[in-house]
Symmetry: C3
Subunit: 661 residues, 3 copies
């Protein structure tokens, strides 16, 4: 459990640097990320390298025993480079170049830019790769931010055709896979194929899915170029990338295979305002963020690199980029930090050291105000450092590698499939995943958000809210575990080639669930149905399926008597879009049957178990009395009285249940 | 009364074909549409024709005595053709080509594409034009779908200038007609004129109207090329095209003059979700569709080709393309089919035989599921076939050519005028037509939706909800009938050249109505006025007019005492946008005065009279007791107890009134 | 106090002209604006000038003693000119030319067009500059209308680089000013800089601000070319331009320095529908317009040219261009005219003489209907003329030059800053200004809306709702006045270079207010806080600031106890977005402390004092009893009983308070 910070010395007078470094150390920070936007200062003109200032930064930080994370500056190529290689620009869906003047103005498929990115990475690795202060590398910055995964440049088209040739070998195979007989879409040659944009009406979903896969692969291979250079020139340093929340433009599981550590950038308030939460939730959680927004991503990114993960950028105060940007309520910066540690973060690094008074992000808070006074975020970071020191050896203990009781399967390709073909305007697969996850957290369960390629043998329950891709290997693996399984609607409804499976959905999961989906309906807003579920009525909306089933039990029925939730053996299939409460009750019952011990928690309270430690996190505005009921538990931080936006930490002598006092 | 289906053998293994054909016949289907999207399989490479498979399809269908409707495949030119003639692409309003990868990617004005379309039509006609199984031709598919009437290509520009030259002869005449003195818009030469896009603010409405007329004419002349080839090479076969619902991009009346049969594609649930109905209606009719959505179009397309019309594509289950896609309630496929026959359809053909598991429309149901099991739609089609067989000679009787009691005038040019210049953001002329039509249906009247060029001598009442175009010939014709006339707001408010008539609106209709509109107002949402109408208050909103009139009677007055609905002789003028209930009461009174016998029907019940048959259609979820009161009536199908989504058919010995039991 | 009208003789048969002129005179009109859209009739082909018709127009108007305002026709260059100089077109943010077919299709930076505009201006000035009927010139028409200030043409890019070079001299200075070290945005040369569009995410706000400044300067220099020609060739005539309402695309204060008279185009109903008023207000004021929409602009434009200002275009009836276009309630055209005179207009000129039955504005009313009958607007204009004649010498008196009690500071650059960086999606600086202004009017105060460069010595109170720009000169000037000061949120929060001031906001205003803003929050809709303010609770929303202050008094506190409104000496700082009622109470208290005598007026009533005259204007639908309480007052027009949409005018013998009877 270490604290860190993102720092941009190039943006401040050199005379500030030493004092900044000292104040960082005094605040308890131990990691400092630098460099990832500094290309124009490292190489102000083609080939003229300015190392001096950066050497001095390294020296100053090193003198304060701060560990450095060095970012490759490839997210912000300077203007002279763009002018030299104008073809490096990404192109938007209308074929227009996405120009210089902000960031991420490059196409992942540009050969020229790949070469330049390799060159600057090599130069940096050569100079600092062995520096004693250097602890880790960050490749680029937030791949895909601002919708930059998909590009429609000439370079992308060329690369796409090459990618298709590798995948399908013959054009006949591609025509077959995409179903191009439909609407006379047959091709005679790979060279006839364009990206799926600018069509009169929707393009073939198989065409779109392959373009998304291709684009995801381009991100991965772009990243790999840097990773290979860094591994070679800078051995022993961790390589990581900072992913983003609710971002599914490329397959993070696959990219992470090339990394040592997964990290992500956690902005709970911005995410609460900008994503799918409803108006009421946006208001309710305006100052705290929805408690499960960070938690979901913590549990997701923990699954990327064998358990090693960081928060690379932690919101320290109000930000500038959401539709609305409230200030976090007092205590939230500390609570978010502890939440990350509770979920297993090695490092929580704040973005940024000091609010910079100019350019695009001038309204983004830092740990310090622009006038170099410590801001609220800085005070709370300092408090975490104090907390950590009070915690003693527990804080230093290696992150325990253990499995949560519940696995929630997160499959990027399924998200793409649903986004490409939602079939109802408000069918949002990411939201569906999140709602199921949040329901698990509301009943006190710990969750691993995992890839479909994971090993499921250690879980009591596996939840698949949106496993839309019909994955036979996954079906076989699930078959062989003893875990209780919960499938959401649309499971297994698309083959790899974006066909409806020949045996109808849920395809290979039919063997497990006994279900055959014969018809689907999406419904306009304002229509809901009650589902009777164990004597209780819960609401469904947006989506329902007509199913045939040889289930053992119809657990829930729609008003008209048709089956809504069916059980076969240890498998549950949910044939509708459930409102949050419905998910909670379905998962409460399922997890009890799985031998788990769920409890409905008060609104805003969250429990997280990590090894022998039990964290109690209060996201509400009211104090709560809550603690473990076991005799062996002793309190490491806080007490049974958890104040609003407070935390308490308990050491459990043995596995103990945590109950309301 | 025949049933049919749309079939795509090229999308299925050849070994399915014979069984498919047999099952079609067994289900009672007699017409099969094929071929309209098969260009890439008929001509996989330039000039290489693959007839064999299609010959076999003809043979197999013929063996089952199925009649074939062959579609020309010009809506989906293959990629090799697009690559050969890149100028054939339509261009969007920003000048960008609308590319390959879906369908309808051609510009109606492209000389190269017209030549190619003629070539493939000629080849098809030559090979199958005399085939004994061939019953009819469909030209292209859904002209104008996906906003493809208007194109801004170089070819379109050239053709537009030629069209203008023919219309105006001199540039002075054009300047005069368009009022180009305004804002110095004068032209010196036809070659200076561009399509009305990319202007800084709105283009001249006369310019826009002429572009719409031009584009409509381009569709018509494109279609005529095919018609002439087919008439020549395939005599004795009906030629038809499948129009779409609520689509007004070109003048269907004019195009239909070249056809033998008008047909349209009826998707009641998609249309209910995607068009102008309000949120409450979208919910209420989610599973049944608004009852008058199909009815309006049935009555419209019946007027196109002297009474001969089909439903070419009937929704058989959930579709894929609406914002939301619910499944039809049980019974709806049968009810829609009977509704079409009740309104006089010769053929109801379902789209499609089987749900295809790949490409863009994979979520569109068919009569069979993707796994070749008969789906709900197929079951209901089969039930209609049984119904028909039970009906005996009535089902075989030739479609009686008769006139409804009420004519509703539908003028494409008026719709264009209103769309170009709504003057209030929610003035939707198509909706206004529909609301007036629906009110007529709610009071049990049968309606012919007709062109302004029609003969009105046989009608007791003529309703003109949006006769915006000041049509002197129409005025004279109406003058000479004895029918009661009802004019909506904005009647006669624009000349052919898109000028306000010199005598002020309603222009030539002033003689009939005694009205002069001196001022119009459009109103933001939330403002309504009560109109006192025969002791009752009805609501108006969106639009009102200040009128001077020498009317005999002010039938309705706004709250402030100004006239809202005025009567002169047998003419009624409605000077406001009435809410639905207002239209119902206005038309109830007017039709009584016209000697008709209207009755307000319960919600969801519709009556349709066709020759000696009386159809009672129940779109509601409740059973209704309803039947003719005459003694001579006898029930051919169903009974006086009409179940939810059920139908009953009565033979009336003589003209009888139909009343609530 | 004179009436005028806009007239387009070229749009009517010549035989109408003499009668039109006579009827204008008879109606009491004395000024006639002509010519501003007539280029294609003055110069139908390159170099062929057609003066005859215009000579005759001059003669006919002169014969009726009508004074002519001649517009230069540069807002509507004819097609032949565009075809000759295609580079003259403005380009939109996607780089597409904004083409011919409406108006304002030119780029302010085009050298070719500047030359052409000078040529036609020179020709007009030469021919009519000394004509005895010529009273004034209008340059161009509504600069910036339809979003035409910003252009992204090649010409604009070139001019922008030149502008930057002049402003910054060295590229280092520019990099420093913009903070280009951020995200490696450094430039090596001015020639590398493009307009701030087409970037992947938001461009640097300093870059955007400079582009807005540049574009504003281009409008000003474009206008100056014409002004210099006219001053030279047509001495003694007023030069004016007609600005628009709620339009802030360029700096009107700076442009006005080149004019003799400021004028604006007043369309109260269109502005009420199309701008930021909420749904309830749009309904409430649909037929009258919000009373303060015209008043705000009257008070703004009065401040442009030393008090000389006109309404160049006064709405005479329903218009065509708003989302909804209701007809004005009876009496409104007269009331708006009197409101303009009350605020000091020299001339109120109606747009247009007669509704033209063709082209884009055919649904825009005139004083006459298309059939040459006087319309409601004409009747009311005639009534104003009668009123004026009744008023006698008061109407002829020179417009008194005096200062209102309250100055409201309006700074175009601050509006740009806020628009570029709202930080909350609904932070609308123009609305904030308007809300504060409207609150002042609701408590009966007279307001000068002034530039920050004004002299404030004569005011009792100065209100700065959105002085976002940190203006040290202004701070010093305010320091030296004795006026009570009221600052809104975000005051002084940006330096000239778009940096946060080093001493934190409100920058230089800190000395006055004692405030330091340490944190800002924007809030999603639905969140409000009560502020306790003198025993009363008022609502805030959208925005709040955390402040440190050495204030004398915390006047208002948020619910959580933090300061919301603080007072130091004679300065008040408001640290939140107040709802309207909050502004009213803040300003009621402040103005009392400033020694003013505010009274909360009934809804819809407005009082305006001008010299010795007191105007009482009733915008409501109810009669009001209201008049001055002083004994010396005598009524010049109307009476103490002011009818709905009526006006009364009182002469005050001495300064008297105006009270409810």
């Amino acid at each position: 459990m270490k604290l860190g910070v993102c720092y941009y010395p190039e943006q401040w007078p050199e005379q500030f640097w030493a004092q900044d470094a000292r104040e960082m150390r005094e605040l308890g920070l131990r990691m400092v990320r630098i460099g990832e936007f500094a290309w124009s200062r490292i190489e102000p003109e083609p080939g003229r390298l300015e190392w001096d200032w950066l050497d001095r930064v390294f020296a100053i930080l090193h003198a304060e025993k701060l560990h450095i994370v060095l970012g490759t500056p490839t997210a912000t190529p300077p203007k002279w480079l763009v002018d030299r290689y104008p073809d490096m620009l990404a192109h938007d869906e209308h074929g227009r170049p996405r120009g210089f003047g902000s960031r991420r103005h490059y196409c992942f498929s540009s050969p020229a830019y790949r070469e330049q990115a390799a060159r600057i990475t090599e130069l940096l690795a050569q100079r600092y790769g062995q520096h004693p202060a250097l602890s880790a590398w960050q490749t680029d910055n937030e791949y895909g931010c601002h919708g930059t995964v998909l590009s429609y440049s000439q370079a992308a088209r060329t690369a796409f055709r090459r990618w298709l040739r590798l995948r399908y070998v013959t054009i006949q195979a591609l025509n077959e896979a995409w179903g191009n007989v439909f609407w006379s879409q047959d091709y005679n040659d790979f060279e006839q194929i364009d990206p799926p944009v600018g069509t009169v009406t929707e393009a073939n979903p198989a065409h779109r899915l392959d373009y998304q896969r291709f684009a995801s692969d381009e991100v991965i291979s772009f990243n790999r170029i840097q990773v290979e250079i860094l591994r070679n020139k800078s051995p022993g340093r961790d390589i990581l990338h900072n992913f983003m929340g609710f971002f599914t433009g490329f397959d993070h599981h696959r990219l992470s295979k090339d990394l040592d550590v997964a990290s992500w950038d956690s902005y709970p308030l911005g995410a609460t305002q900008n994503f799918f939460l409803n108006e009421k939730e946006k208001q309710l959680w305006a100052e705290t963020g929805h408690p499960d927004v960070p938690a979901f991503h913590h549990d997701l990114y923990r699954g990327m690199c064998g358990g090693r993960w960081w928060v690379m950028e932690q919101q320290p105060g109000p930000v500038n980029w959401a539709h609305w940007n409230p200030a976090p309520a007092e205590g939230m910066v500390r609570l978010w930090t502890w939440q990350a540690f509770a979920h297993g973060a090695e490092v929580v690094s704040y973005f940024r050291w000091r609010q910079v008074p100019f350019a695009q992000e001038q309204m983004h808070a830092g740990l310090q105000r622009p006038d170099r006074i410590v801001d609220q975020g800085g005070l709370e970071a300092g408090q975490v450092d104090e907390d950590l020191r009070g915690l003693g050896p527990h804080a230093l203990a290696e992150n325990p590698k253990h499995h949560a009781d519940v696995a929630l399967v997160f499959d990027y390709q399924s998200i793409w499939m649903s986004d490409i073909q939602p079939q109802g305007a408000d069918f949002n697969a990411m939201e569906l995943c999140f709602r199921a996850y949040s329901a698990l957290r509301q009943i006190g369960l710990n969750v691993d958000v995992v890839s479909p390629e994971s090993d499921f043998t250690h879980y009591s329950m596996v939840v698949l809210p949106v496993q839309m891709r019909n994955d036979e290997a996954l079906a076989a693996k699930l078959q062989s575990t003893g875990a209780r399984l919960v499938f959401g609607p649309r499971s297994g409804s698309k083959s790899e080639d974006f066909h409806i499976p020949s045996q109808l959905p849920p395809g290979a999961f039919n063997v497990l669930t006994g279900v055959r989906v014969t018809r689907v309906s999406s419904w306009p807003p304002g229509i809901t149905w009650a589902i009777s579920l164990g004597g209780r009525l819960v609401a469904a909306s947006r989506w329902r399926e007509d199913i045939e089933c040889d289930a053992d039990d119809v657990v829930g029925r729609f008003q008209d008597g048709k089956p809504a939730i069916v059980e076969k053996g240890r498998c549950l299939y949910v044939a509708a879009w459930l409102e949050s409460e419905g998910w909670m009750h379905v998962l409460l019952d399922a997890s009890r049957k799985a031998g788990l011990d769920p409890h409905v928690l008060p609104e805003g309270l969250r429990l997280t178990r990590r090894g022998p430690l039990q964290y109690i996190l209060n996201f509400s505005n009211s104090p709560m009395t809550y603690g473990p009921s076991t005799e062996n538990a002793h309190c490491l931080l806080g007490s049974r009285e958890v104040p609003p936006r407070g935390v308490s930490i308990w050491s459990l002598g043995q596995k103990a249940s945590t109950t309301n006092n």
